[in-house]
């Protein structure tokens, strides 16, 4: 089955980012297709490569990056939510006149249309958030 995931909560905020990762792993293990993972609201904070959690803690962003690399996942960050929270890729940094970008490998920045498309194209949309 074709599934998409919506993550509305930041990492280390409560548990939803962790739940979303565990659910995505379990769905892939069962042979389902993950059409897209969309990060909205504080969920965009899952996609900064500048976060450095303590070494004995899980690194949620790295887990997403690894999962995306191994399974060719489409991790999409909402552009408006990202701009509010200082999540930038190279293009956006240039466009906004900022001195650097911080998006993690495996993520891309795009618009809400990508969420709508995921809802239309997927058999199920599962939402994780606060």
């Amino acid at each position: 089955m074709k599934l998409s995931i919506l993550v509305n909560e930041g990492p280390y905020q409560h548990q939803s980012a962790d739940s979303a990762i565990q659910f995505t792993k379990a769905a892939l293990a069962k042979g389902h297709e993950i059409f897209r993972v969309f990060f909205y609201h504080d969920g965009v904070n899952n996609g900064t490569r500048f976060a450095v959690p303590p070494q004995d803690d899980r690194n949620i962003t790295e887990e997403w990056t690894k999962l995306a690399k191994e399974n060719d996942l489409d991790l999409v960050i909402c552009i408006a939510a990202a701009q509010r929270r200082g999540i930038l890729d190279e293009n956006e940094a240039k466009r906004q006149g900022k001195d650097g970008d911080n998006i993690a490998e495996g993520f891309r920045i795009s618009g809400l249309g990508q969420l709508i498309e995921a809802g239309i194209q997927s058999d199920r949309l599962v939402i994780f958030g606060d």
Partner: protein, 102 residues
């Protein structure tokens, strides 16, 4: 329409379990994840409400989130089904739609 409702907040913190139980029609499933697993245990003020809902609804609870809170599956109300993440995925595919009460 019967569907899967997921609840992720403790019933002692928010009212989303009540909302989900009120909206879920006969034949629906309710899956308790994250802090909502506290609704699944015997001996709380919400236990009777959960037990009463079992007539029309199937109620599931995520086992790893019980363990993560140092609770035991032995304390879970009779009639609730404990599932793992694989079971969560199966429920999502078995029901036509998923409504996440956040």
């Amino acid at each position: 329409m019967p569907m899967l409702h997921t609840v992720n907040k403790s019933p002692f913190e928010r009212r989303t379990l009540d909302t989900a139980l009120r909206h879920a029609v006969k034949g629906s499933g309710v899956l308790l994840i994250e802090d909502a697993v506290y609704a699944a245990f015997e001996g709380t003020v919400v236990a009777e409400k959960v037990r009463a809902a079992l007539g029309d609804l199937k109620i599931y609870v995520l086992g790893p989130d019980i363990a993560a809170r140092g609770m035991s599956e032995k304390q879970v109300i009779d009639g609730l089904e404990v599932v793992d993440y694989g079971g969560f995925v199966d429920l999502v595919t078995e029901y036509d739609k998923v409504q996440s009460w956040l």
